[in-house]
């Protein structure tokens, strides 16, 4: 027995050694407010793994905004970007690293709602403002008073698109289709069901699918046989595009209505002609004539060689909201920044007019878009 104890002790010591080897001296969190305000802001994003495409758009948007803000010179921001791989444990470790090793004044991210459920409480307990730019599930900002988001939840997007589509196409009978293994699509579906109830629509069937599925024919054949007036589909663009293509191919021609998750130029890229008539609601409309949007799109295209999507736009606005709040606070202090963030009202960004409500959640009005002639256009 003694030997084994010794063995364990050796391993434990080795573990300790690993743990403390990298411990660096913590720096003071805030500096007194001399002009300009210098601040270190952390970003948790998906750089690697399955969701890396979202993370790339988000960090691109943030970097673009950082360059603009730093060029102005009132606020000088040092970004610290950490990868979460889309995993809770890594998001938590990244949050700990940013809060304690890097001593950041605030965090933007993480990308997924699941990750926020883990990183949010930690930041909140440590008194670090944290703002999700793409975390749309229910209960995110209810984690605590340091948790914010500027991502429009599906619960606000979907009623808008469904409302308009129902009026225009005189929809009475609907079929619901959603991804049941994803937080985003699941909470979108919950809203669809609720809204359908409110509008007294007749729900013919509720079908589900799983992430990465290749074959949706069984579900779609069933839906087609019930002859609905429309299909309400809560999906991300990757699955959504395939669903549209397979539905149109088998002759299911009724309108498809989705939420913010469906809103990506990629849907059209994947589904081609089959995307025609898809109706979505979103705060982000890249073809808008708003000079702010035009300027952002042009800059983004120049910097990264592709058009920004909603993830890039939300992250871009999030950084500007953060920078404005820093300026208002006048000092890079976590608690003061939180208060001035919470006071953000009528911020004019590329996503339109933005405010936080009393629960630090999003107040903005989505616009409804429909795919026509191979691109998103305003629904009317």
């Amino acid at each position: 027995m003694r030997r084994s104890v010794r063995g364990i002790a050796v391993v434990a010591c080795a573990l300790f050694a690993f743990v403390f080897m990298g411990a660096e001296k913590a720096k003071p969190a805030a500096k007194p407010a001399a002009e300009p305000i210098r601040a270190k802001i952390g970003v948790i994003s998906i750089i690697t793994g399955q969701g890396a495409a979202y993370g790339e758009a988000i960090t691109n948007g943030i970097k673009l905004a950082r360059d603009e803000v730093n060029a102005k010179g009132e606020v000088l921001v040092d970004l610290k970007i950490e990868d979460s791989s889309g995993k809770q444990e890594q998001a938590l470790a990244a949050a700990q690293k940013l809060i304690n090793s890097e001593q950041v004044v605030a965090i933007i991210g993480p990308t997924l709602s699941n990750e926020m459920m883990v990183a949010g409480p930690e930041a909140n307990a440590s008194g670090v403002p944290i703002m999700g730019t793409s975390t749309t599930a229910k209960g995110i900002t209810q984690i605590g008073k340091y948790v914010f988001r500027n991502a429009l939840p599906e619960s606000q997007a979907i009623p808008a698109s469904i409302g308009k589509a129902v009026k225009k196409h005189n929809i009475r009978k609907v079929a619901l289709l959603y991804g049941n293994d994803d937080v985003f699509t699941k909470s979108g579906f919950d809203t669809m069901k609720e809204v359908s109830g409110k509008l007294k629509l007749n729900i013919l069937t509720i079908e589900t699918f799983q992430k990465g599925q290749a074959d949706y024919k069984a579900q779609l054949t069933k839906i087609a046989s019930l002859k609905p007036d429309a299909v309400f589909c809560s999906a991300l663009y990757n699955e959504g595009g395939v669903i549209l293509a397979q539905a149109r191919k088998m002759g299911l021609k009724v309108p498809f209505v989705g939420g913010n998750g469906f809103n990506s130029p990629k849907v059209i890229e994947i589904a081609k002609d089959a995307a025609e008539g898809l109706t979505v609601a979103t705060p982000w409309f890249g073809e808008s004539n708003d000079p702010k949007v035009k300027g952002f799109v042009a800059k983004y295209e120049k910097a990264y060689g592709k058009k920004p999507d909603q993830f890039a736009a939300q992250a871009y606005d999030a950084f500007h909201i953060m920078a404005n709040a820093l300026k208002a606070a006048g000092i890079a202090d976590r608690a003061k920044l939180r208060d001035s963030l919470a006071a953000t009202k009528n911020f004019q960004g590329v996503l339109g007019k933005f405010s936080f409500d009393a629960e630090r959640d999003v107040v903005m009005s989505p616009i409804v878009l429909i795919v026509k002639g191979g691109k998103f256009t305003i629904f009317n």
Binding site: L15, Q88, Q96, I99, D181
Partner: protein, 313 residues
């Protein structure tokens, strides 16, 4: 106490949880059975502990105990019929078990919340802190900030749990039970002929592994304060397997080392975390080809003990 960094403690905490998972697959492997269901058993422990503490206000230790026992009990239920299977059949059947379980977690929304998962699970460090405050103790009195105290207490609890589990099973391997496991692994028919109740010991090992996975899952739930079905996929099962294969499946310290090392590696070298799974894949093949017994085997440990200056760190 400024050097006590919650980030490092956090990484260490995950190393410890993974070490327990490594031990859990080691126990079933030590009877020659390969179970790919450990991610599933982990989810049972995690969800049981999470739901008990969030919906029924059960104290954390009781929830963890209940979660582990439930996982162990399911382990017996799965283990008995699985004994008719061996080798690859068992591996595939347990893999199937894990997938079915995940489908249940996703679909049984009224209980599990579906894909949304269970949030706001009491985090043990924060609970310990509030208990300490109620008892009139403040972390500042020993020079610790709140978040340092929280992370430190999580780490210490997990360290204790890991040491206890490792010590228990290390001791077990020197008893009658452990010798029976080894005999079964070497040659099942010979063990049977020698009068060892093979069925009994195989079920025992299987459910011990399940119990320990559930234990790790329950600790995981109270460390991250959130669980969802996405945490317990096929990839988690493979990751647990990699801990044992890389570290070594002939001595208990093997998977413990494998888990600790492979959890630390991507954290220490964040640049390569992109290639983590590619690395895992190559590692599995290379280990099977060149060192099927894993990095740590009894021979290495003997050499390690003989050397006089063994005090690491």
């Amino acid at each position: 106490m400024e050097w006590l960094n919650p980030y490092h403690l956090q990484v260490a905490s995950f190393m410890l949880i993974n070490a327990i998972l490594g031990v859990s697959i080691f126990i079933t492997l030590s009877t020659g059975q390969l179970s790919l269901g450990n991610a599933g058993f982990m989810s049972i422990g995690a969800y049981a502990a999470a739901l008990l503490s969030t919906q029924h206000q059960v104290p954390i230790p009781v929830g963890i105990l209940a979660g582990s026992l439930l996982a162990g009990a399911v382990g017996i239920l799965v283990g008995i019929p699985s004994l008719r299977l061996s080798g690859v059949y068992l591996a595939i059947a347990t893999l199937g078990f894990g997938e079915v379980l995940r489908a249940v977690l996703i679909n049984w929304e009224s209980l599990t919340g579906g894909a949304v998962g269970v949030a706001a699970i009491p985090q043990m460090g924060r609970v310990i802190l509030s208990m300490a405050r109620d008892g009139g103790f403040s972390p500042e009195s020993i020079g610790l900030r709140n978040n340092q105290f929280i992370s430190l207490s999580v780490f210490l609890v997990l360290l204790l749990c890991t040491l206890l589990s490792a010590a228990f099973f290390l001791r077990l391997s020197r008893t009658r039970v452990g010798r029976a496991y080894t005999a079964i692994k070497l040659d099942e028919s010979a063990a049977e002929a020698a009068g060892i109740p093979v069925t009994y010991y195989k079920v025992l090992a299987f459910s011990q592994g399940a119990l320990l996975s559930g234990f790790a899952g329950a600790l995981f739930a109270h460390t991250t304060s959130f669980v969802s079905p996405g945490d317990f996929t096929y990839h988690r099962a493979v990751e647990i397997l990699v801990f044992a294969v890389f570290g070594g499946s002939e001595h208990l310290l093997g998977p413990v080392f494998g888990a600790a090392f492979l959890t630390l590696l991507p954290e220490a070298l964040r640049a390569i975390s992109e290639y983590r799974y590619i690395l895992y894949g190559i590692l599995l093949v290379l280990m099977m080809v060149f060192r099927p017994q894993g990095v740590i085997d009894p021979a290495l440990l003997r050499r390690f003990r003989r050397s006089p200056k063994e005090t690491a760190a």
